[in-house]
């Protein structure tokens, strides 16, 4: 009697916190796991820019001359030009830049098609090292100079070299802790964005809009380079060659996603499935027999009564926005486009085949094809990344937008930040509706640009006028 009477009483009490914790806790974790590094990257870029160049607009006296890049090949803006000249010049610059990016992306698609993975791998390693060492070094030197912090040259060289070496390792090796890899991804994005924000103002804005439009076309058009890349990668059951930020740790020693070589590809399609038979820690890949060339997207269905939503955190449709980034040298523009894809998991009965996440070389591809025809195997070791992956190009261009807004005023920074986050959220929602590759740049960039100009023209006189008179509401 006593145990019987006692047992219902603790049960509701015990259930209450668990049930309270479940629904609100489970939702939105993955979205947040991608929004936080984006926010951190933007915050760091704003901090860098406000540290290195005072956020006053257009004073050429204090700032360094803008770099000669692909984006200023045609026309270099100078403060004495008329707005019409600036506009036309910026349009030409943006057109040239987008054309360069498109050409480079096509070249990379061709290289990937002809399986020059060695070349791509080494090129990506070189780019990562170059970015961290030389561009990061320049920024570090500027920061040190600004803060008047003493650091001798050999020490600086040593630290920078070590930092760059660890960066190269963490981007490609698999045994590096996820935090280190995430940190280096964010650092790469910050460095590239800080460098790109030194472009002149009109050129930056028009280039951003042009890139957003290009991204839209490249991902959605039938012969767009990014779309071709997705299809190629999925037909080989291979992961996309890209620098991506992974918000979920890759488990296991030989995860392939990190051993990626190529610096190309803007679309990632991951066929991630969760078979539902096994516990949440395993990640299985599912392939549809008949359509090997197209990606398999499966919906993660929480209705299968998985108990550990919190840990596996596969609520809803996970989204894989990916972008390619061709890390820029001084002469080449960067091809950075973001694509978002949804991956969902199917029911176990429709996906009897399980194959490991692929690694790079062709041998394992064959192996996978063979293994996919055999019975399901659990590859605990080969877990690709689960959760959301966002390409570095997204990070870079969001941060460029916010950095340019920071050069005007902090109010525009907040407005653009909110616009970009809203655009990212909208894109993720859209992704869960239409289950194919989507570009991540357009909505965010358009919202960000709109908010910037609305804030600058409309809101700022209003708010500044009110708050300097201490009239608030």
């Amino acid at each position: 009697m006593d145990p019987a009477a006692a047992s219902p009483a603790p049960a509701p009490a015990a259930e209450e916190p668990r049930s309270d914790a479940s629904l609100l806790d489970a939702l939105g974790g993955e979205v947040l796991a991608v929004m936080s590094p984006v926010s951190i990257c933007m915050a760091l870029v704003v901090l860098l820019i406000s540290l290195l160049s005072p956020p006053s607009s257009g004073s050429a006296a204090g700032g360094s001359p803008p770099p000669v890049t692909a984006a200023t090949l045609v026309y270099l803006e100078s403060p004495t030009d008329t707005p019409a000249q600036k506009f036309v010049g910026a349009l030409l610059d943006a057109a040239v830049f987008v054309a360069l990016v498109a050409v480079v992306t096509f070249v990379l698609v061709a290289l990937y098609y002809y399986r020059c993975t060695g070349f791509l791998k080494n090129y990506m390693r070189f780019s990562a090292f170059f970015v961290i060492f030389s561009m990061g070094g320049a920024i570090a030197a500027a920061v040190l100079r600004r803060l008047a912090a003493p650091l001798d040259a050999p020490t600086a060289f040593l630290l920078l070299f070590n930092g760059a070496a660890v960066g190269v390792l963490s981007v490609f090796a698999s045994a590096v802790p996820i935090l280190v890899r995430q940190g280096y991804m964010v650092a790469l994005a910050v460095i590239v964005a800080a460098w790109l924000s030194r472009l002149p103002e009109w050129t930056t804005w028009i280039m951003l809009v042009a890139l957003a439009l290009y991204d839209l076309v490249a991902v959605l058009a039938p012969r767009g380079p990014l779309r071709m890349l997705v299809e190629l990668a999925s037909s080989r059951d291979d992961e996309l060659p890209a620098l991506v930020y992974e918000s979920r740790p890759t488990v296991g020693p030989a995860t392939s996603s990190s051993s990626y070589a190529s610096a190309m590809g803007s679309v990632e399609m991951q066929t991630m499935a969760d078979s539902g038979r096994v516990g949440g820690s395993r990640y299985d890949r599912v392939e549809q027999d008949e359509d090997a060339s197209s990606a398999v997207v499966e919906m993660r269905d929480l209705g299968r009564g998985r108990s550990n939503i919190g840990e596996t955190n596969r609520s809803g449709g996970s989204v894989l926005p990916v972008t390619s980034t061709d890390l820029p040298s001084n002469q080449i523009g960067s091809s950075q486009h973001a694509v978002i894809q949804i991956e969902q998991s199917e029911e176990a009965e429709t996906a009897p085949l399980v194959s490991a996440a692929s690694s790079n070389n062709a041998a394992s591809d064959e192996e996978q094809r063979q293994s996919s025809s055999s019975e399901p195997m659990d590859f605990e070791m080969f877990e690709s990344t689960r959760g959301i992956k966002l390409g570095l190009g997204d990070f870079v261009f969001y941060s460029v937008l916010v950095g340019r807004a920071a050069m005007y005023d902090l109010m525009t920074v907040y407005a653009c930040y909110l616009g970009i986050i809203a655009g990212l959220g909208c894109t993720l929602i859209l992704l869960s509706i239409c289950r194919h590759a989507l570009p991540a740049l357009p909505i965010s960039i358009m919202l960000g640009v709109t908010f910037y100009f609305l804030t600058r023209l409309l809101m700022e006189p209003f708010v500044v006028g009110a708050s300097t008179n201490l009239v608030m509401f």
Binding site: E16, G28, Y414, L418, I421, G425, N469, F473
Partner: protein, 250 residues
């Protein structure tokens, strides 16, 4: 007045928001998303408002009644935004409940709903503090400080930080009161929220008078304390009623 002072002013305005965020909102990702979306709403309402008023700016400093009209329209628009936010929240609540039923988890409890309204209010408050106080705070990191003519006893940054703090509290907790009132359909609470908002905003008009900020700012903080206390009463009452109902059901 140096980085320390700038940080100090920023913390005066946003300190309680940070603690609320770290202690309550950051634990559940959904609440963070709610906060971001409510901040976005507030921003959009502010942009619309400034679009409407852009033609009439700049307002001459002598005409206090122009500011009064400005405040009345702004408060009206923001309360309208609150209603729109409530409608959207209701829709989302239905979707969430359907989702919870589908995955056979319990629906949103009362605590969950109040947490969502807290996150929404915090979003409004943070947006207000950021746009009205933080964006003007950059000179405070420099070497000097700034006094407005009409407020010569208190640095401008301090006054604006205190006012931002008051409004943060008011926005956060009046959102909880408002959501409870819309939920329970209590007219008196529904009226209280816009009235409090309007009163607080009108109180800042006192700052237009010379030396007025010494009166206006403490009054505003008193108003914030009143809102906090009222929200405490409403929340306690609702939670105890809910608990009693649950015990009676069991």
């Amino acid at each position: 007045m140096t980085v320390a002072a700038g940080l100090g002013y920023a913390l005066i305005a946003l300190g309680p928001a940070f603690s609320l965020f770290a202690g309550v909102v950051a634990r559940k990702p959904f609440l963070v998303l709610t906060l971001l979306s409510s901040t976005l709403f507030w921003l959009i309402s502010l942009i619309v408002l400034s679009g409407i008023w852009r033609g009439f700016l700049p307002i001459k400093s002598g005409t206090w009644w122009a500011y009064a009209i400005l405040i009345i329209t702004s408060v009206a628009l923001q309360e309208g935004t609150r209603l729109v936010f409530w409608r959207l929240y209701k829709k989302m609540e239905e979707m969430l409940d359907a989702f919870a039923d589908r995955i056979s988890k319990p629906r949103l409890s009362l605590t969950d709903k109040m947490l969502i309204s807290l996150a929404g209010g915090l979003g409004h408050g943070v947006a207000h503090a950021v746009f009205f106080c933080l964006s003007l705070l950059t000179p405070a990191f420099g070497r000097a400080t700034f006094y407005v003519e009409r407020c010569s006893k208190m640095p401008f940054f301090l006054a604006s930080a205190l006012i931002a703090l008051g409004f943060l509290v008011i926005h956060t907790f009046s959102m909880i009161i408002a959501f409870n009132a819309y939920d329970e359909k209590k007219k008196c609470d529904q009226i209280v929220v816009p009235v409090v908002h309007l009163a607080a905003a009108v109180m800042t008009l006192v700052n237009l008078a010379p030396g007025g900020c010494l009166i206006g700012t403490p009054l505003l903080l008193v108003m914030a304390a009143l809102t906090l206390q009222y929200c405490w009463r409403v929340a306690c009452r609702r939670l105890t009623e809910h608990q009693h109902r649950q015990l009676n059901d069991n």
